[in-house]
């Protein structure tokens, strides 16, 4: 079932706006991530879609599930599945009773027989691989298991819309990875429409068909992970999706100067702020004619596919991060305290109000 939001806004008392009027469309069967820092309004938006919060009446926003207008429908009757951040399992009920709860509170006419409830619950528990734990209590399960119970419970009523609030937030990295893969499979198998909230960019990009990046109660951009990373709509999205190095200085006669750092460019005269991804920084033992960016290695982390190198210099407002291949790392023989030169391969620029300006490769890299 598709989800359509128009002009959904929310403010709390005099504290201010939690959500600017938001428009969002999620296609049937799509898996969309709501990504943003804390306080960006992503959880509020999810809870409004669920019906756990009311949107403002001014502007009069609407929420549509397919063709059904659910704006004024109580959460009880929206027929959504909701997975809570800390699971919110009923702690006094067994796993079985938790999963069965939604079925047992159906009006008598619609309620399946107890035999059928039993069969359905066991099918769900099988699906989340917890059939052996049916008689356990939530406190006797690990975090990952509890989250799976919570998911099974949400799916018991066969909702067409599944909403997840930071579903993997409280789990450790390995379990998180596993559950992610598993949720994606489940989603593809059962074909419901899913919306999940996360503050973890990697999780959002890996799991979603599309990601809505939010900040300050606004959706900054909604796009496929690839488009978000390669064509960010504004500086916020660029900076939020990955590490960024800043180079800010004065351009005069085709040279950008910032303290001891100099970079030859074709930019217009005046103040400039350039942004570079860590993989867009090359390290060299000598400065190039185009770039003179002296720096000192302060930390090296050779774990993983790439080597992460932290750089410091007087002219940097914040330390830089560069990633390089192991081969380059070995060739340079990097150690902490070593002095060397950073060479930008390419960089990004944004206007004062955050719009992207044509990104240009640095001349050094082009040469």
């Amino acid at each position: 079932m598709s989800i359509r939001l128009s002009d959904i806004a929310k403010h709390y008392g005099r504290a201010g706006r939690a959500l600017e009027p938001v428009n969002l469309e999620v296609a049937e069967g799509e898996l969309v991530g709501l990504l943003g820092p804390s306080g960006s309004g992503k959880t509020t938006l999810l809870r409004i879609i669920a019906g756990l919060e009311r949107p403002d009446r001014d502007p009069a926003g609407r929420i549509l599930f397919g063709d059904r207008d659910v704006t004024d429908v109580h959460v009880r009757d929206r027929r959504i599945g909701f997975v809570f951040q800390h699971y919110a399992l009923f702690r006094h009920m067994t796993v079985f009773d938790n999963v069965a709860f939604g079925l047992t509170v159906l009006p008598r006419r619609e309620r399946p027989s107890s035999g059928e409830i039993r069969a359905r619950v066991y099918r769900l528990l099988e699906m989340v691989q917890l059939e052996r734990f049916a008689e356990r209590y939530p406190a006797q399960l690990s975090g990952g298991q509890q989250q799976r119970v919570s998911l099974a419970r949400a799916l018991a009523l066969r909702p067409e819309v599944l909403l997840l609030d930071e579903p993997f937030g409280a789990l450790d990295a390995k379990v998180r990875q596993e559950l992610r893969r598993w949720l994606r499979q489940l989603h593809d198998e059962l074909g419901f429409t899913s919306l999940f909230v996360t503050h973890d960019q990697e999780e959002a990009l890996e799991l979603s068909d599309r990601v809505a990046v939010m900040s300050h109660g606004r959706i900054e951009q909604i796009d496929t992970p690839d488009a978000l990373y390669h064509a960010p709509a504004n500086r916020f999205v660029f900076e939020f999706l990955g590490d960024v190095n800043h180079l800010e200085g004065e351009v005069r006669d085709g040279v950008l100067t910032c303290g001891a750092a100099r970079l030859r460019t074709s930019l217009p005269e005046g103040r400039e702020r350039l942004l570079l991804r860590p993989h867009e920084v090359r390290l060299a033992e000598t400065p190039s004619p185009e770039a003179h960016l002296p720096a000192t290695v302060t930390a090296v982390s050779p774990v993983g596919a790439e080597v992460r190198v932290e750089l410091a210099a007087d002219w940097m407002a914040e330390p830089w991060l560069a990633t390089l291949r192991h081969a380059d790392y070995e060739r340079l023989g990097l150690t902490r305290g070593q002095r060397l030169f950073a060479v930008p391969r390419r960089w990004h620029r944004f206007t004062a109000d955050g719009r992207p300006q044509p990104a240009a490769p640095a001349r050094a890299a082009a040469a």
């Binding site: 008392g13 005099r14 019906g51 756990l52 919060e53 009311r54 009446r57 001014d58 004024d72 109580h74 959460v75």
Partner: protein, 289 residues
């Protein structure tokens, strides 16, 4: 903007739909109960006081015998509260920090003053501390008279308010992570210094709250005191007893005037304790109270 503010101020906008059920029902029950049981009776007091002129009112509440009762009540309550602060801190400390046989029993015993009807406490203390009682017989030869003196009043007040300090300090002490002790000790603090400079500041808000509650309770205590107080005018009469005496003389106006003073003081103290508690909760949990 002002339009929006006006709408916000409305408690129940017509289309409000709350997620959890029972708002109307629980609000209805609560407001009905609070109005009928707690607030409505106060109008009786107001009605009675309206019949008094300001001069008459002042004459009653500043009568020398009544003023003497304020002094006795406040003085004894202050002593009782302070004694409880020390006693309660010791008990909370021993119950949280140490393990020893009988600990569970001691812990349970702390609540006795709340569970025991005050009149029972009153006749028991009076009997124990009277000249021929178990304790009184030991103290009297030393020239210490407790029953029928001011000391007896303070004792009865202290007894009935024992749980306040223990039960407010205990949970705070329990929640204190061992790292706090360890940090103090690695920095070279001894037992006394560590307690005074590191632990006491942690417990301070709870200690003050508990002592405040014990004080308020002592001001209003009646049943436990009248048996041991002796009730001699100007010396061992507490204010609650003054109200009671006026009532038995059918002097409703006099009783109301004194009651209004007691009521105002205890409500002001209750409010002060609530505000104080709110402030320290905000301090500990940051921002929201």
């Amino acid at each position: 903007m002002s339009q929006r503010a006006a709408r916000l101020a409305l408690p129940l906008p017509a289309r409000t739909q709350r997620v959890l059920p029972g708002f109307g029902l629980s609000l209805g029950i609560s407001l009905t109960f609070v109005s009928l049981v707690l607030l409505l009776p106060m109008t009786g007091l107001v009605g009675q006081l309206k019949g008094l002129s300001l001069a008459e009112y002042w004459a009653i509440v500043s009568d020398s015998r009544v003023v003497a009762s304020y002094t006795v009540t406040i003085g004894a309550a202050a002593v009782a509260a302070l004694a409880n602060a020390a006693f309660g801190l010791l008990m909370a400390w021993v119950l949280v920090r140490y393990d020893f046989p009988g600990k569970r029993l001691l812990d349970a015993l702390m609540d006795l003053p709340f569970a025991l009807p005050t009149a029972v406490a009153g006749i028991t203390l009076a009997t124990l501390y009277a000249g021929n009682g178990w304790v009184g017989a030991l103290l009297e030869p030393l020239g210490l008279q407790v029953a029928y003196t001011w000391v007896g009043i303070a004792l009865a007040m202290a007894f009935t308010s024992i749980p306040f300090v223990v039960r407010t300090v205990q949970p705070v002490l329990e929640d204190l992570p061992p790292e706090v002790d360890e940090a103090a000790m690695t920095l070279g603090a001894g037992d006394a210094t560590g307690f005074r400079r590191v632990l006491l500041p942690y417990l301070w808000p709870a200690l003050v709250t508990g002592t405040g509650l014990a004080f308020v309770r002592s001001l209003g205590e009646f049943g436990a005191i009248i048996f041991i107080a002796g009730n001699a005018p100007f010396e061992t009469e507490i204010t609650s007893l003054m109200i009671f005496v006026k009532l038995q003389e059918y002097d409703y106006a006099g009783a109301s005037a004194i009651a209004s003073v007691v009521l105002a003081v205890s409500l002001a103290l209750l409010l002060a304790i609530n505000v104080w508690q709110g402030r320290f909760i905000r301090k500990l949990h940051g921002g929201r109270g």
